[in-house]
Symmetry: C4
Subunit: 296 residues, 4 copies
């Protein structure tokens, strides 16, 4: 079980030393958003910023750049010249150039499943050396091409909700929910490649995490007020941010899931449901501080 | 009379169970907005999000997509390829595809009354199976084509203010206000089709609701600080959201109207008039919680 | 002297009756903004909305519509088809059509002084029957064409700061400041036309108002924290809003000026300078309530 | 050492007299931002506005104007007709025209290092008479053309972080950090031109300032929660704003650095890290007031 105590202990490494700068806390690259779904990219970025990531950049389709720059003052964007409404593999070279100095990657929120986007996702899943959080439509793309997946070049964290998990393991959502532990383990085994760290997060009430050595963790924070659009996007940003700040994939996943639920719990107990994913992101610093103060 | 007690009782079904997800709280489709009036669409979406709707999508004219995506982070949009500044029936196929998995529909805020929009509204009024909140310009369109209206395929909630009501029943606004009950009943009979649930909401001080079996309800919440642009748009979103969360049309209408007025009352008693419709939407969670806490 | 007591007394008419609707509080048309100066239009609209105007619409150059719709959720815009970066007299017909049902007009903030804009301003200054607040660049345009001005068709409120006043009366700003009363009276006599109400507001510390019968009023609210861009734009919106709510030009001007300064005073005493014009607009409802509560 | 006492004393000149107007507090011109990095320009402007600058204008690439006008309501922009995604020397004439009536200049945040931008930066560094804050990419441009730099026409404040400093003095960042004082002095001597005031600010924990007569100041405010994207952009805006309000380059630099750190300290002690640069800008007025209240 993941509790405030375990989460606080895992986050110990986030306590900041005086003599540090923004480079000390990593640079996250987010590959997310498509026409109609830019909000997912925005929310992932906010999750990252509000949990202490040093720098956040997003590669975005050219036509959507105005939306993203207007909504994300503190992040940088890379408008991709040949991607108009979705991320297109034709911009691979530009993306690879920008990947070079990044600490971690989030891929998937609001991406859509266009063929040209799918090619890009599959290529990056395979070749990126940095730890990568794979979420939402990137998971739907993996699900359709399980047979094509080769050993990834770095650690991977998959963050399916039950519907996405169903697609990943070829079952339906009801079956997944009836036996969440089995689903999590099955997914882990299907995507695990020797020598590469893998973490599977099955979201939903009592989020379940399967990590290497088949260690299983179950989250105790969170509430049904978080059953609203965009909450998962914030989570992917949080985990990416914790990776950037030097936590291991397993700990970033487990502590991130707890922190995310805790931020929702604060809002839920205060005003019930009807809070937004943006509200949740804004509540992260307060919760993070509460956990870190716990330690001393 | 609709009071805090009756509203709380009706909203009992909104108490959330632990083991639920965003799909449990429905997916609302909003058809609203045109060049110059995108705010109406934004406010309907905010009303829905702040009253607990699981997911909110909007079909929007292509040229207005940047405005809507920038303003609505947690909602998704569908930029309609052949609609430039108003919703155009030429995009019917795209709209129908996106209607498929939706729980309820809001149509009308800020739509304008262009001929091509009117064709779309009339077609959807007739053919959509899901419960549909019909507001603002969609009502003005219905008013001009009363003779063409055929039996709708699902429940309908009409939400005219006195001016729109006047157009719907062929009187003037003064006559409507002089006998609001008569106006409400006349409208109900004019639009009621056998076998299809109909709710008529006549907005204004003491909002009046006429439902099947000619049940009449009168709201007790609300205040003249709400006499400002955009307040009605938020109401349509609230009702759509309550439909998405499983309430019946009559109860969604009655409880929605009470909740809307209550959110305005909180703002009015605190700071008098000069609050905006966005402010009102933000105040919804607190009021909803107060009503639900009432129950236990 | 304008004090809290006199302002409260003048604002008595703003106390709201239960049985009213947004139409009861007027519809303001704002003609403001140009490429690079859309903020002025936004701030005028916010001043109007936050002081209780029923509805606010803005006629805006087509290319700037995205900016204005994104920033003003509760207002409506009319994108002018042939005005690209500035308001152009070529769109006169559209503007006149939209003027028809408006209660009052604000013209000038951020307009620029393009020749084609000047033609529009001069035409409207002459022909609009509704009360009109003339501010900023509209004043600069009047100053250049004093000899062309004919009797306006309705009441006019001019709101120059010392620099604009200097241009209006052909002096320099230092001369204006050395004898503000003389400047105000001189301006009044230069622009007064028989049978048309005129109010001249000379802004600056101790804002001075000259009205018909040469009545002179001096404001006692306000502070040097308000010496920042955009504050005047909010004032023009407030006065337009008070006109819409039925106050006479003199009272709208005098009470508006007091309310504006009072909203700034609240912010200044709390946090010193560094507040923005948007902050000031948000503080209006609280101040308005305080004044109205004064009365009972 | 720069402490609250020294900072308050330096800021004494910011206490506002009643009989002042926005012109009394200067007009800042910001040259910043490029496609993907408009946030840097926005944050510099917010830093300036929140520390009391009278007026703020930005010269911006034409295609980015919508983003900047939407995000900066109280500032004015000058959309440069021939600059599309970066500031281009081809718009020099327009920029010079707008420089005429400005009190101070900030150049650099988010500019990029395009050749055509570099030409512009070098020209302005040389020829602008007003005090100029040179930050971020403008520093990177100077670093590449040290040999071309001629005597500037006015005071210059350079604000490198250790990485930028390394480029300016031809070392690496580790060397800079190992002996910050040496690096600061070396940079000062490399860029100092006879008869022109120069201030070098080496950012990072314990920000160090080298000014004329080799006076060295070390800041005592600030915290590692400020190690996030955009914080430096806010600082450049603050210093520009203090210059506009009449402080000397040395005092604007020293007091600005203290104020910036103090605003971060307030946020850090309240909620730990995870605050944004926008949050920091919003906290400036409160800190400024605290310092000024200190004096009386």
């Amino acid at each position: 079980l993941i509790t405030a105590e375990t989460a606080a202990d895992w986050l110990r490494g986030l306590k900041r030393q005086a003599n540090t700068h923004k480079g000390s806390y990593g640079h996250l690259l987010i590959l997310a958003g498509s026409a109609g779904k830019t909000g997912a990219a925005i929310l992932a970025a906010r999750g990252a910023q509000r949990s202490g990531c040093g720098l956040v950049s997003l590669c975005v389709p050219y036509d959507l750049n105005t939306i993203l720059e207007t909504s994300l003052i503190e992040a940088m964007t890379v408008p991709l010249p040949t991607s108009s409404s979705v991320l297109n593999v034709s911009d691979l070279a530009t993306i690879l150039k920008h990947l070079d100095d990044k600490t971690a990657v989030v891929i998937g929120p609001g991406l859509g499943t266009d063929t040209r986007t799918a090619e890009l996702v599959l290529y990056l899943y395979h070749s990126v050396k940095q730890p990568m959080v794979v979420d939402a439509d990137a998971l739907n793309i993996l699900a359709r091409h399980v047979d094509q997946l080769r050993t990834p070049a770095g650690p991977r964290i998959l963050t399916p909700h039950p519907g996405e998990m169903a697609r990943l393991i070829g079952r339906n959502a009801t079956e997944v929910q009836e036996n969440r532990l089995d689903a999590g383990k099955l997914c882990y085994h299907r995507f695990k490649k020797k020598g590469r760290e893998l973490v599977v997060i099955l979201k939903g009430a009592g989020t379940l995490i399967v990590t290497d050595n088949e260690q299983v963790l179950i989250n105790t924070s969170g509430n049904p007020g978080m059953a609203a659009g965009g909450m998962g996007d914030v989570l992917s940003g949080i985990i990416g941010s914790l990776l950037c700040q030097g936590l291991s994939p397993t700990i970033a996943a487990a502590a991130g899931v707890y922190l995310h639920g805790m931020a929702g719990d604060g809002l839920y107990s205060e005003n019930g449901h009807g809070f937004t994913a943006s509200d949740l992101a804004c509540n992260l610093p307060r919760c993070l501080k509460q956990l870190l103060d716990h330690l001393s």
